[in-house]
Symmetry: C2
Subunit: 544 residues, 2 copies
Amino acid sequence: MWRGSARVLQKNIRRNLVSRAVKGGLTALLLKTGQPFQYNVLLTGAAYSTKIQPKLTAESYPSILRNPNYKQLAADDVSFFKNVVGETGVLEASGSEDLALFNEDWMRKYKGQSKLVLRPKTTQQVAKILRYCNEKKLAVVPQGGNTGLVGGSVPVFDEIVLSLTQLNKVRSFDEVSGILKCDAGVILENADNFLADHGYIFPLDLGAKGSCHVGGVVATNAGGLRLLRYGSLHGTVLGLEVVLPNGEVLNTMNALRKDNTGYDLKQLFIGSEGTIGVITGVSILTPPRPKAFNVSFLGVESYEAVQEVFVQAKQELSEILSAFEFMDSKSQELTKLHLKDVAEPLTEKYPFYILIETSGSNKEHDDAKLEAFLEKTMESGLVLDGVVAQDETELRNLWQWREMIPESSQAGGGVYKYDVSLPLKDLYSLVEAANDKLSEKGLMDPEDATKPVISAVGYGHVGDGNLHLNVAVREYSKDVEKALEPFVYEFVSSKNGSISAEHGLGFQKKNYIGYSKSDQEIKMMKNLKDNYDPHHILNPYKFL
Amino acid sequence: MWRGSARVLQKNIRRNLVSRAVKGGLTALLLKTGQPFQYNVLLTGAAYSTKIQPKLTAESYPSILRNPNYKQLAADDVSFFKNVVGETGVLEASGSEDLALFNEDWMRKYKGQSKLVLRPKTTQQVAKILRYCNEKKLAVVPQGGNTGLVGGSVPVFDEIVLSLTQLNKVRSFDEVSGILKCDAGVILENADNFLADHGYIFPLDLGAKGSCHVGGVVATNAGGLRLLRYGSLHGTVLGLEVVLPNGEVLNTMNALRKDNTGYDLKQLFIGSEGTIGVITGVSILTPPRPKAFNVSFLGVESYEAVQEVFVQAKQELSEILSAFEFMDSKSQELTKLHLKDVAEPLTEKYPFYILIETSGSNKEHDDAKLEAFLEKTMESGLVLDGVVAQDETELRNLWQWREMIPESSQAGGGVYKYDVSLPLKDLYSLVEAANDKLSEKGLMDPEDATKPVISAVGYGHVGDGNLHLNVAVREYSKDVEKALEPFVYEFVSSKNGSISAEHGLGFQKKNYIGYSKSDQEIKMMKNLKDNYDPHHILNPYKFL
């Protein structure tokens, strides 16, 4: 590992960063996303514990009642569905099938009571199902890979689960334009592996890639690890195939890179979390796969310095900058406790750390740009210390100091987690404010085991204005909850931030949208919902 | 100028490509866009002639009648508006003001009969105006820089012109994140110059930049010259301030790079051409300004070779590729006739030519990448010949062979123009089909002056799948029109293309949307229009 001043960099970092995630089921998922859990006032079990968590069943929400307008599932409904999708496409609770996998999210935080899972194989089958449900007023929850973090993809009561897993074919790929068309149920990693064989890359990556669906990431407008480089799905998705609640099919799959003929209808469904239509097909523009990656880990004096380094990185690294993450000192202290045997990247301690990743088409050029950037920022005194990964192992190790923060935050007992967007200048002020608040209330002491809070740490995607605030606790406590809520949401709201940067509203945040959206916006959203789904059969009890 | 094989490149190409456009009013506009005119079946005047064109007034459209539901403007209406925007904010046809500039588009193709122009200075004034117009059923046409190409920004009958020219302030710029917030009426070039001072660039550029408004390019979802590099406005626009027809204000200006709390309402207004709301403010993410530009001009054997070179350019030039344009041989023959004194880039003739532009943060690296790319593609025989500009003059000269095609196509008498999107593999087939059709009908001969058609040429933005088909004629003729229409639209439709890649529908193409959009899509669009603008007061007689 290179240290201290910019020197010639070796060139043996391998092509694909995917392997940097520690493999092994859930852990890989946790490490890769960096923010697997959401704070929920109702959940007081230890999020990372291996024992079964308390689940949020309907009984947990006494204020939410099953909407009596929805029909109860009957035998003739099931017969109808069997006619549409065949015997194998229907899973019944009464049968030998265990529906737990469909009723629970992967964190096992939320649990519904659906008695029926439908697994259509074609868009036409989805259309027939929805038309029927709309007529009969049967509530439906569309479900992709079920990897969401806000309880959006599992039933709350007895909604029928409409699983897209069987709609899983790549439809076409244009080697020249890079346009991929696929079914909604294609697993993201499969899509990306398919593209890798053709020299392209899926313009979005996230920890759940081995399970989540292409349609699901579009329905939730997932952010993930490549947003800084490739932008949001609103820009990269070219077309969608969507079944509307009434069974009509909106097909914009043939859309091209440029098409200015009317309102861009597909945009409404990107991030709609399955509440106004079921996405069955996705057309997306994919960029060429980068051939070279670099990772550098830096120490700086202040959050102001983090911002300055970010500006300089955008200027100097410009088109090859693919990640710019920051971590505060407390987050690294927690991580050090957890990563006992792993050598720290820097010998000295600094108030803030920065992880920079570059990716480009020419390793030599990328190395030279990074070297020049580091020389400049270190000579000016902006960057106090730094290392650059020399091989893939080092690269993975450096990423660990960022990616292990969530697990480390929780290791002392539990963690309250917030995932918010804030204007960059205000990004860290939430962490400072939360620290002040917890200190004021006498709730926090890293050394005193009688205090509930160990530490409140901040880190996140500077490039995206996305902060993760983790409050590491020895135990969950009503006092800590009261100190943090609605304080955090009010703080975010006062800075015109967003209470959900990338995870969506789902079930968890449906009551908090008012902190991010105006009454006018909420009115217009409800109007759209009523317009497209007048009987509210799609994904009820959520979103708005 | 470097010729034939890849050699060391000099480094004196200056920073800003803007200056490559030949300056001087309209001509600059024409040269820069490359596609300033649209074919219109009603327009038979010579498009580029300096004499006044036949205008398309209401009398030209006997099938379109003024909607009698709209109120006729009365004195008390004008009094109300004067109270809202002051005396100076109201221009009346009855006063000393000449409203021709507001009633006509810049091509002088379309001409309305508005008697009143309102120039509000604040969003609140816009809101008061629209609320009043909505109550009184006064029709309104929102107008930005009035540089559109499809007659979308001028009245058809007596609609009130709502000019955004006085809403022209930059509201804020964040040096760290690159987020620009400005009024809708800020001129694009002013916004870009402002950004240049801060080391950033507006993620969209087009020939009309000296006149068009930021709000206008968003309302029409303009494409322009930087789309290949920075993507569409659906990805870069972060928030909008929009006044709805009922006077309510939708404000999403505080939106951040990431915000997943509800439907992305602003997307509906991007490309809505002023039919469901008036954009008064724009928040947009701007990228760092590139420091280096290169331009190369290549000759290849076939359209298949064009596509292969494009794939290799994406792989090799990857993150620095900023334009990939192709031109067929006939387009260059026409251009040669026009650019008599300018030396041709290549000594030999080739069936197809390619113009490649790179832009990046390091000239040396960009030169090396381009050199390696050219060596590879020439050694393999894919590229037969090529030059690279050595300074800004050469760079500008090379661009001329692409940008002068529209003017050259028209120089022989007139031109029928189509701007379409097609799948890349089919992009050139439209030109071949049009040539076949015109030959079959005996309408075309470059040498025989008794034939109406000189040549049918094709060129365009390969990177965007955007073709320009120009049919150069000696004179406009019903026979040629009949040969081309609806043939061209049917051809585009059969290949699942778009009849308007980047110019929108406006007045010109409102009857052709069916060639690009399904009944289902059109139904959903009409539903949105009815929902947001139930009295249809905004920009009537257009779009749908």
